[in-house]
Amino acid sequence: MNREDAVKIVMQTLEKNVDGLEMAEEKMKESLSDLGVDSLDVMLIIMDVAEASGVNIGDDQAEELDTPEKIVDFITK
């Protein structure tokens, strides 16, 4: 998957699942908690991103993905 598609998936998933969040490139390196994503939202977001990208994200790997940028990096590896 190219980076552009990955960024789109991650941004759309975040906006869909977090009330009032509007994503922008400059927010990609902010922590998910600073973006208003709580521990339950994270589980949903990781699952949605995995399904949309077709990339399996294991439990241990998911724990490390604490910014949108890291999620993008993971699914474009």
Binding site: D38, L40, M43, L44, M47
Partner: protein, 307 residues
């Protein structure tokens, strides 16, 4: 034809204020109330036991129905936290407490949150094949006995309760279709280690959101029904957030799918009968129930009103 005639339940009088628990554990109150969806957790008191809570549920049943103890031919209990470690099987102890006839079959079933859907099918099948007409199906799984009270994953979530369902040959709901599934390879997501419950919240969440909508869709297809043919969806009350997202993914109506765990928490195999108890009087034509959890195990059934 056997089916569900009536349901009663029992919630222990003692309870835990989940907001106080949230403060103690450094959890956000708003998160606990609106995302987990639980403000109060009923807790078994010291003198409560699985048997005493089941007997208390039965006493509630007797306030609604005229139950002739001599007619009860079968008692089944679903629990994974029985009194005395399950020896003797607690259904036999309930049998003794209720003073039932010796001509009565009693056995326990060890299942968690899928236990109500499974257990209903088991007791109806057993009674049917053995020509029985009246039976009692109990659920009671006091997780408070196995919680680590410092574990935010679990102690903010689980409440204690008991239920009893009267199965009889004069039912108001009969089974139309049921489907059962197991993913034993993922059973380590919910285990009891050294007597303490451990839950991988992410694994359980992923399992529920991925498998439950698929099973609901599958059973509707097999029954040649569509979502609109179901009047009420009674889903295991795992957590508010989980339920809201299962509803979205299954594309079922929020109005038809009650979320009611604010005052009870997740009561394991008792969560569906607690909902069904208040639903019975509405006389909805078709009710779909879906339970999912420990095992990992999930089961869905469609029940139809007897007119």
């Amino acid at each position: 034809m056997l089916g569900i005639q009536s349901i009663a339940s029992y919630l222990p009088k003692d309870s835990v204020d989940n907001m106080h628990q949230a403060d103690r554990l450094g959890a956000d109150r708003d998160f606990v109330q609106h995302k987990i969806g639980v403000s109060t957790l009923p807790r078994a008191e010291e003198h409560d036991s699985v048997v005493s809570m089941c007997v208390a549920a039965f006493k509630q049943l007797c306030k609604k129905e005229s139950v002739d103890l001599n007619e009860i031919e079968c008692v089944v209990l679903c629990t994974q936290n029985p009194d005395g470690g399950g020896l003797p099987h607690n259904s036999a102890l309930i049998h003794a407490e209720l003073g039932l006839s010796e001509e009565c079959a009693c056995f326990d079933i060890g299942l968690g949150c899928s236990g109500y859907v499974y257990g209903l099918s088991v007791i109806q099948s057993f009674m049917s094949v053995n020509g029985m007409k009246k039976g009692l199906f109990f659920t009671c799984d006091p997780y408070s006995k196995i919680l680590n009270h410092d574990d935010k994953n679990t102690c903010l979530l689980f409440g204690d309760a008991a239920s009893v369902t009267l199965i009889s040959d004069t039912p108001c709901y009969i089974l139309e279709k049921a489907q059962f599934s197991t993913k034993g390879s993922a059973s380590d997501a919910l285990v009891k280690n050294d007597g303490i419950l451990e839950m991988n919240g992410r694994a359980v969440f992923n399992f529920a959101l991925q498998e439950v909508p698929k099973q609901i869709t599958s059973i509707l297809n097999k029954a040649e029904l569509c979502i609109e043919d179901i009047d009420v969806f009674l889903l295991h009350q795992g957590s508010r957030f989980m339920l809201e997202n299962i509803i979205k993914r299954t594309k079922i109506s929020e109005e038809k799918t009650p979320i009611n765990l604010l005052q009870t928490g997740n009561t394991v195999s008792s969560s569906i009968p607690l909902l069904l108890e208040s639903e019975l009087s509405n006389h909805s034509n078709r009710i779909l129930m879906s339970g999912f959890g420990v095992g990992l195990s999930w089961a869905t059934a469609i029940y139809r009103l007897v007119k």
